[in-house]
Amino acid sequence: MNPTLEALLHFLATWWVELLWGVVIVAVVPLVAGYVVLVERKLMADMQARLGPMRVGPHGLLQPIADAVELLIKEDIIPDNADQLIFWLAPVISMVAALTSMGAIAFGPTLQVARDINIGILFVAGVSSLGLLGIVLGGWASNSHYSIIGAMRSTAQLVSYETAAGLAMVSALLLSGTLSIRAIVDAQRQSGVWFVFLAPMAFFIYLVASIAETNRAPFDLPEAESELVAGYMTEYSGFRWSLYFLGEYANMIVVASVATTLFLGGWLRPFPNVTWLSWLEYAPAVLMALAGGYSIYRAGKQPVAVQTGFMWAVALACFAVAVLFAVPRFVAPLNFVLPGLNGAFWFLLKVSAYLYVFMWLRFTLPRYRFDQLMHLGWYILIPLAIVNVVAVGVAMLLENAGWNRWVGLMVTTAFTLGTALYLVHLQDKRNARASSAKTDVLPGNSYAG
Amino acid sequence: MADEPKPSQPPESSKPDGAAAAPAAPPAVKNPGTPATLGVPKAAPAAPKTPPPVQIPLDNELTRRYRERFGATILDTLEDRKQAYLVVDAGQLTEVARYSRDQEKFDLLEDYTAVDWPKREKRFDLVAVLYSFPHNIRLRLKIPIADRQRISSLVEIWPAANWLEREIYDMFGIEFAGHPDLRRILLPDGWQGHPLRKDYDILKQDTDWVRENLGIESGQ
């Protein structure tokens, strides 16, 4: 046999699972990102007393597909004065970085593209930050003032907040003692509790920094539409624009996954070592069944026959998933998929919750100004993250010295919290000084007739 | 300049049945005793023949002070529908304006505009509406000027005049000496003609400009 062919076959035989997963990620993530957008729009609509997309498909469920088609067939405009090569390259870098970094994420104990590389978490963080190159290059190549300002803001913002996020990650890494994703989750299983309880400040810092890293509100300055039109994406349209968009949402999923892995116990169910909670193993199936039941309940209340039918379809789908979750538990030969299924369920649930927080903040908060953003990053988050790393280290030393682990962690967390309050206080004082001696006025106290 | 004007009172000579409140009834606040307001005959009865009799001479303390101070510069002091105005000679406009702001406390230049009377010798009336926060009264200065006569700008006295004078320049072609940035404001820079002049027909436009910049024959 041809040696090349043989080698190829050998390669395929050894790596087919990973290759398949790779293909699945490339194929599924755009769809998932599309539906994350839909969910976001629906949630936003709900919080804003309106309906959101309703036209395409029942309750707008096919909207992402319509959007994708629209973006694909849209005219592709490259401005005359743009730098053709880089303009073309930039969105691709952004998206490839986001998708590649997904490769190392473990969705369950057995669900991972890259066979557990022992620098997993660094890989995710490092590669996903490459997306910034796409933003900077795209902003520069567009040759537009809005784009370049957006790109500069983006760079400054990412460089600042990456530091804070990295230091927050270090806290969790100290606790786990490894960089490998599976080992980190395993460490949380062994310690019996998620790291978010052991290092709450680190989790909080990571939450804030990850919002800033993904350019989401209230830190969405690089693309603040009311100031910079669309920031670095201003000159992009159609397919290229959708690549950026995809990269952004994929990045959101990535940071959520990192947070889930580091702080929220990855694919572990809540309190993985408490045996009387082991009924939670049934939770996925039960929850899906409940969702199905609710759909049936709602089906009767739909005004139009089509909608009733659709609700029934949803109900059936939910039941099908429920059965899928339940069967392996009762059928012994299928038991081996159980950890994967349950793991994926919990993992995705946590990721969704994390993303929900992202969205919730976006609908609620106004946007920071650039100097305020930098102040928050450099004057508060980074010092706090450094203090937190030291504090977690001290806690571990104390534990080694025979202290109760919780007492040590509480003391150090309290210390970090105190530092945080002091930093905020300093910042307030700085603001007060900046605004010279001006007094507040509240409505109601100075309105005479 | 009064930063904290005293709480302004509604003019106390409240009209019997609250008719459209004549805001600028100067004597009401300044000098209740003067019979100027009370003596005003109801606005001229119908039949508005071309020389209008609605404007009647006004003589109260305010106008007297102006006359004393400026003499012949104040060409006339009149009242029209209970609103006072002074006709001021263009030559000493700056002085009158500064006096109005500093001594008479007309701190707000509420409006500044022009009216075109093509048949008159002095073709334009510039009209400045002044308001005094401390006294809660209005006063109009009317400055007749001829076509192509340059007139001194009020920007130094009331910065608010900046855009208002640019608009007058834009619409009437009146030039202001000493204006920091006298350009067209509403119309494009290269436009020919001044639309609010009476001889500028309502359908007229700068066809050359339109053809050159918009590539169409007419914008109508």
């Binding site: 040696p3 080698a7 050998h10 390669f11 730098d83 090569l85 880089i86 390259l89 590389i117 022992n118 620098i119 660094l122 890989f123 963080a125 490092g126 590669v127 930050s129 490459l130 910034l132 190159l133 900077v136 290059l137 520069w140 190549a141 370049i148 790109a151 500069m152 760079t155 990412l158 460089v159 960089l179 | -």
Partner: protein, 177 residues
């Protein structure tokens, strides 16, 4: 087999984009090709199972330094600056420097042959999966055998950082006065 395919792929990309980087007129294009070179090098590290070096290369060079580099290019209009910097003897100097470099490389290769042991060419290769996880190894050697140099480097960086802060401060103060 797979290893050599990957090696030649990454090596080819690295050399090609290095050449392109030198020949491009546009500073931004050069930067992009430099990034490609660095990433291809990172790929070679990965192929050598040096995953920590790989990710360090990505994070430090591609992620950090290159972003700052591009940032600077955007800010200071390097196109114009280059134009001013170019001088008459440039080509000559470049050729000389290149020749010197080439001579050095040759000399090293020649000297290496004389070294005791295997020299540059290692005949027995440890199979990749037998290698210990190298981030741990790296950490161990950094914090034990090479602790002093490591700390010296850290202090040096700290000094640089403080220096930067001081310089930025004084400039700001001067501007305010």
């Amino acid at each position: 087999m797979l290893d050599s395919v990957l090696f030649y792929f990454f090596g080819g990309v690295a050399v090609l984009s290095a050449v392109l980087m030198v020949t491009r007129r546009n500073a931004m294009h050069s930067a992009v090709f430099l990034i490609t070179t660095l990433m291809a090098t990172a790929g070679i590290f990965l192929q050598l199972r040096a995953e920590f070096l790989f990710i360090a290369q990505i994070i430090l060079y591609v992620g950090g330094i290159m972003v700052l580099f591009i940032f600077v290019i955007m800010l200071v209009r390097l196109d114009v600056a280059l134009h001013h910097v170019r001088f008459r003897m440039q080509k000559m100097v470049a050729v000389l420097v290149a020749l010197a470099l080439g001579f050095e490389v040759l000399a090293i290769l020649y000297a290496a042959r004389r070294l005791p042991g295997q020299g540059l060419f290692i005949s027995e290769i440890t199979p990749p999966d037998k290698l210990p996880p190298n981030s741990e190894e790296l950490a161990k050697s950094l914090f034990s055998a090479y602790l002093l140099p490591f700390e010296i480097a850290s202090v040096l960086l700290l000094v640089a950082m403080v220096g930067a802060v001081v310089m930025a401060k004084s400039k700001k103060g001067a501007e305010e006065q």
